[in-house]
């Protein structure tokens, strides 16, 4: 019997370029939620470090090493992306590879576009490369990470991929229409 074929959350919706921004879907590779048990934060961080060269990220921060990234996503929880999760005895490790819709928004007006949707100061002086936040995007809970001087990575739950694309394109369209 044939194997099942996977679809990405934004299949057929992206990429799009609107005015001075481009919105594209990113394949995050394997994604694992890591939630250390009581008193295990340090041990889990060390285990991650020795396996992948990156630690358990502090609140509001992300780390990357090679293709692997660790993004803080909440109290006591980080997502390991782009690498298989090593054996971590001190943490719950939950596969979330298919749970998130991940897009990158890049361009001169990327900050302006997100300023229409995110109630958070994302200006480069306040929200630097590697900074990440759990916040709202429109009416969705989201994760926002600065991935470059003019680039942000946005994640929402998979089922809302279409709404995410609608929100971003509408905001980008309004920004572009101002000229």
């Amino acid at each position: 019997m044939a194997n099942l074929v996977a679809l990405s959350p934004c299949e057929g919706l992206l990429p799009q370029t609107i005015g001075a921004v481009t919105i594209a879907e990113i394949d995050p590779g394997p994604v694992t939620a890591i939630l250390p048990f009581k008193g295990q934060d340090k041990a889990v961080g060390e285990a991650l470090k020795s396996a992948l060269g990156l630690g358990f990220p502090a609140p509001g921060r992300s780390q990357s090493k090679g293709g692997a990234r660790a993004i803080w996503v909440g109290k006591g929880e980080a997502l390991l992306m782009g690498a298989a999760c090593p054996d971590l005895a001190g943490a719950a490790c939950v596969d979330q590879s298919d749970a998130w819709c991940v897009v990158e928004i890049v361009g001169d007006r990327a900050e302006d576009v997100l300023a229409r949707l995110v109630p958070l100061d994302l200006r480069a002086s306040q929200f630097k490369r590697g900074h990440t936040a759990r916040t709202l995007l429109g009416r969705m809970t989201a994760s926002a990470t600065r991935s470059g001087a003019k680039a942000f990575e946005i994640m929402v739950f998979r089922s809302m991929a279409e709404t995410l694309v609608e929100e971003l394109t509408r905001a980008a369209g309004a920004v572009a229409a101002r000229g």
């Binding site: 099942l4 719950a92 590879s97 749970a99 809302m160 709404t163 369209g173």
Partner: protein, 976 residues
């Protein structure tokens, strides 16, 4: 009338526009008001109550009279201030609240009736006959009331909302604001300058005085240019800060696309939420009129507006102009007009000691006591000591002094303070935390004082922000003292308007006082003073002064009214931008969505999710036919249903089992690995919160399922329990809802179907009822749960969501080869009712475990969330309404959800009410309607015949009370 050579914009570009259908031309840079004045249009609106002809009073957003409708069709925009609307080519403006036209308005008959229509007259009449209010009086009043009209068409324009952040928000870019912005910006602060005008400069654009040796407007332009080059400064033109909210949050409305012809896709407006560490209120001041007889004629304007129209736009509203004032500043109007060659017929100053500043005819100690000219001022009568004179004038520039724009400072309930020197209310410190007023907004009325105050406050603010202030040289400017004497209402007969739009006179305020509406709030509410679109900006202080006089109190004792957001009106479309149509809430779709839509399934909302209602076949005409077929299909073969919307929470940790024991009424620590158990969750108030199954995947690993509706609520609840009630437990959890695409495979052939799909097949011994575990599905690691909501032998199979669409198609294809197929929410609902399974129709927030017959799951506990409250006597009484099944005595009888239950012979009234029906279906399996409902003491009444009455749908049916499980009570099928 246009004055050649005057005005800041000297471009000769003429701009064609229409007013009430008449083709006119204005000049680039004009507001609609300026262009109307240039075209000698005097009557531009009608007042609200008496439909008096009205002209233009002001040159700003506070305008009460010159409200017009712009555009037509879906773009029609009512109640636009002509004083704010910028002119553009093709602008289409219409007057409003007049029939048949603004110059001849039949409703002006109200003006003749005005002796009878005093303040509050309507409270005293229109009471007889009793039913005539809705039928006769109110419709007439409603038609007469209102200003402009909405188009009645759905909005087609784009609006947007946005956030901005800064260290310092400077509100208003007049001399004060520009100096404040410069000071803050040069010190390195992130600055936002928001100004409601299209051009920054404030009064500097309207006055002729010099700053630093150059015209004030030129100095302003230089500063704006410097600010524009700074990276840490953001200039927001056409942006009115509308509200001050907590912790330095401000609302602001930007006019983005209203000053040029319509550009599709470009927002008309943007509503900003600006978060500022500090704000400097440099909103300036508003000039106030004086109440004198017939002071509402077209051509009577505030003196500052006359200067603004002359100096900024090069227009004057009459060939002869008079000035009436109680302060020095207004005299400048005469000087500016004379310099422009306009005939100034007189300056009337109420102060006996007033001095002329130039060569004009000055009447000191004089007052205007009457005006003539119904559709435009022709002349005025003035009284000086005991003589009365008539003075020719087509325009009267009036100044009763200036009111600092303290509105934003009052948005947090702070009250401003009366200042006897400036005869105005000034903001107090700290009314809005983090906001400091400067310049005219705190009663500094000379240009030099404003400049200095802006610089001073900026310095204070940057020091507080930990920055080093830069030295900024103080520009030179006029520094005349502000000399004023009280003059609110001229003595004598005649109607003296205070609130122009709402037609509130001095006499109305006095009547309010006479009738003992002495509190300023009572006066306002009784007379409607201050409730018009200017929210009292032009009338509050004078009305307060009149009330103070009428009640024998001083102004400070009389009080102030409260200013509330917004400062200027904000369109609903701007503040609700992005929500029109489907934008109101996110859409959540499952991985089978496209396949369901392809099969013609109507998708219905389930919370934020969309789920298929039923899957129609070509020959089926009603949903009921499709539903019946789907039920029969599942009961006889196999059906597939996407259940991914149910919440899935992955719970792990050494104390995971203890945690579940605490959040559920029943026990999970005894559950074996590889098994699933139904659980009931209570709120702490002892009522049912949610239910669902939880699977034990490992010793310290559980997967909890919630209902679709309660998934978010349960997640919040678990966080609450683990962080606040039981921080001692070592447990972590995260939502896994979105990771998995999960499908119910239900029916006698479900095992056969899965046998073909699951790698290695389904071994019946390993997969008894309520088993769970990992499986490989066509090469993909997934999960299998042997659980059933339909009462059939059934499974739920889950794969990572990326594979969901593919698996759904595989399952359907396989099912179709076995006489099965897809089923939707309708069939799912029928089957769960047949089995007596509850949903949120039954656990609707008011039911207890006792009510639904699950009391045994609670009573054995020693503690869990909701345990103690559920023991309250009132929640355990037999007289409570208890879950029962109902079926019609006559199999053809119809049951309806929402109907109420009565004893057979009882009259269907409240006092006889015994319960109600929650869920109803037609059961194709049993061949008649079924219902679940709640009946007083219902469990003891199985077998009883009761009457179901649905008044709304006109249905009365006799039904028999029974156990809620209608089908396969023993559960043979589910275990089979």
């Amino acid at each position: 009338m246009r004055i050649e050579g005057r005005g800041l914009c000297q471009s000769n570009t003429s701009v064609p526009f229409t007013f009430d259908g008449e083709r006119l031309t204005g000049r680039e840079g004009d507001t609609l008001a300026a262009a109307l004045i240039a075209n000698d249009k005097r009557v531009v609106g009608r007042s609200f109550k008496y439909h008096r002809p009205r002209g233009i009073l002001t040159a700003g957003s506070e305008e009460p009279n010159a409200l017009v409708t712009i555009g037509h069709g879906p773009q029609q925009d009512p109640n636009v201030r002509a004083t704010v609307q910028e002119l553009y080519e093709g602008l289409e403006a219409r007057s409003q609240n007049a029939f048949p036209s603004v110059s001849f308005d039949l409703m002006a008959v109200n003006d003749l009736m005005s002796p009878f229509l005093g303040a509050g007259f309507y409270y005293k009449t229109f009471m007889w006959p009793k039913n005539f209010w809705e039928k006769l009086y109110e419709p007439i009043i409603r038609r007469a009331a209102g200003l402009g009209a909405l188009s009645g068409l759905t909005n087609e324009d784009t609006y947007e909302k946005a956030y901005a952040f800064c260290d310092v928000l400077v509100i208003g870019a007049g001399p004060t604001g520009l100096m404040a912005a410069l000071g803050a910006a040069r010190a390195g602060a992130d600055v936002i300058v928001a100004d409601e005008d299209s051009r920054m400069g404030g009064r500097l654009l309207a006055e002729t005085g010099e700053v630093d040796g150059k015209p004030g407007h030129a100095w302003a332009a230089d500063i704006v240019a410097e600010l524009a080059t700074m990276d840490n400064v953001r200039l927001m033109h056409r942006t009115a800060v509308t509200g001050a909210y907590d912790q330095g949050t401000y609302g602001a409305l930007e006019r983005v696309g209203q000053h040029h012809p319509h550009q599709p896709g470009k927002p008309l407006e943007c509503f900003w939420r600006i978060v500022a560490r500090r704000a400097i209120l440099c909103a300036g001041a508003l000039e106030r009129p004086v109440a004198f007889p017939n002071n509402d004629r077209p051509g009577i304007m505030t003196a500052g507006a006359v200067r603004a129209y002359l100096n900024r736009w090069g227009v004057v509203a009459g060939r002869k102009v008079a000035v009436f004032a109680n302060n020095d500043g207004a005299h400048r109007t005469a000087l500016d007009l004379m310099a422009a060659g306009v005939d100034v017929s007189a300056v009337i100053d109420s102060r006996a000691e007033a001095q002329a500043l130039g060569d004009y005819k000055l009447f000191t100690g004089a007052q205007v006591i009457g005006t003539k000219g119904r559709k435009g001022l022709e002349s005025l009568s003035i009284r000086q000591s005991d003589r009365t004179l008539r003075i020719e004038a087509e325009c009267l520039a009036v100044s009763g002094g200036w009111n600092p724009s303290v509105h934003l400072a009052c948005h947090m309930n702070g009250r401003p303070e009366w200042n006897a020197e400036t005869l105005s209310f000034l903001p107090r410190d700290g009314m809005v935390p983090g906001m400091t007023a400067a310049g005219a907004a705190r009663g500094q009325f000379s240009t030099a004082a404003c400049l200095a105050d802006g610089a001073r406050v900026a310095k204070e603010v940057v020091i507080e922000l930990g920055l080093t202030p830069s030295d900024t040289a103080m520009p030179r400017a006029e520094d005349r003292p502000y000399r004023i004497e009280e003059l609110w209402a001229v003595e004598g007969r005649g109607r003296k308007w205070l609130d122009f739009q709402n037609d509130v006179h001095v006499k109305d305020v006095r009547l309010a006082a006479q009738e003992n509406f002495r509190s300023v709030e009572h006066m306002k509410r009784y007379t409607t003073q201050g409730m018009a679109t200017d929210q009292g900006k032009n009338s509050n202080v004078a009305a307060l002064a009149v009330l103070a006089d009428a009640t024998g109190r001083g102004i400070p004792e009389t009080g102030t009214t409260t200013f509330r957001p917004p400062y200027t009106p904000v369109s609903i479309a701007a503040m609700g931008a992005g929500s029109q149509g489907e934008g109101f809430a996110p859409k959540r779709v499952t991985t089978s969505h496209t396949a369901s839509v392809d099969r013609g399934a109507p998708m219905i909302e389930a919370g934020l999710w969309y789920r298929p209602s039923y899957f129609p076949k070509p020959d089926e005409r009603t949903w009921q036919e499709s539903c019946n077929r789907e039920v029969t299909m599942v009961r006889n073969a196999v059906g597939i249903c996407d259940v991914s919307t149910l919440g899935k929470i992955d719970i792990q940790g050494p104390d995971a089992a203890a945690f579940l024991d605490f959040v559920y009424t029943n026990t999970f620590s005894t559950l074996k690995v590889g098994r699933v158990r139904y659980g009931l969750m209570l709120r702490e108030d002892g009522h049912v919160m949610d239910d669902g199954t939880t699977a034990r995947m490992g010793k310290s690993h559980f997967v909890m399922t919630t209902t679709t509706a309660a998934a978010g609520l349960v997640m919040r609840h678990l966080a609450w329990v683990s962080q606040a009630l039981r921080p001692d437990l070592d447990v972590v959890f995260t939502s896994a809802t979105e990771q998995w695409a999960q499908f119910a495979v239900a029916g006698p052939k479900s095992r056969d179907l899965l046998d073909a799909v699951v790698d290695g097949g389904i071994d019946p011994e390993s997969w008894p009822f309520m088993a769970c575990g990992e499986v490989d599905v066509m090469g993909v690691r997934g999960r299998l749960f042997r659980i059933s909501f339909s009462g059939e032998h059934a499974y739920e199979i889950a794969v990572p969501a990326g594979y969901g669409a593919a698996l759904y198609r595989v399952l359907l294809a396989q099912a179709e080869t076995m006489g099965g197929g897809a089923y939707g929410m309708e069939a799912l609902n029928v089957m769960r009712i047949e089995k007596g399974h509850i949903t949120h129709a039954e656990i609707h927030g008011r039911t207890t475990a006792f009510d639904i017959g699950f009391e045994g799951m609670v009573s054995k506990k020693t503690d869990c969330v909701g345990f103690s409250a559920s023991r309250r006597p009132g929640l355990l009484e037999e007289s409570r309404e208890q879950l029962v099944g109902l079926h019609p005595v006559d199999p053809a009888g119809k049951l309806t959800a929402g109907a109420h239950l009565f004893e057979d012979r009882a009259e269907p009234v409240r006092t006889n009410d015994h319960g109600y029906v929650t869920s109803v279906c037609h059961s194709p399996t049993l061949g008649h309607d079924l219902a679940l409902g709640f009946l007083t003491n219902g469990r003891a009444r199985h077998g009883e015949t009761i009457k179901m009455v649905d008044h709304l749908r006109g249905v009365t049916t006799l039904a028999r009370v029974c156990d809620p499980v209608f089908f396969d009570k023993e559960g043979a099928r589910v275990r089979g």
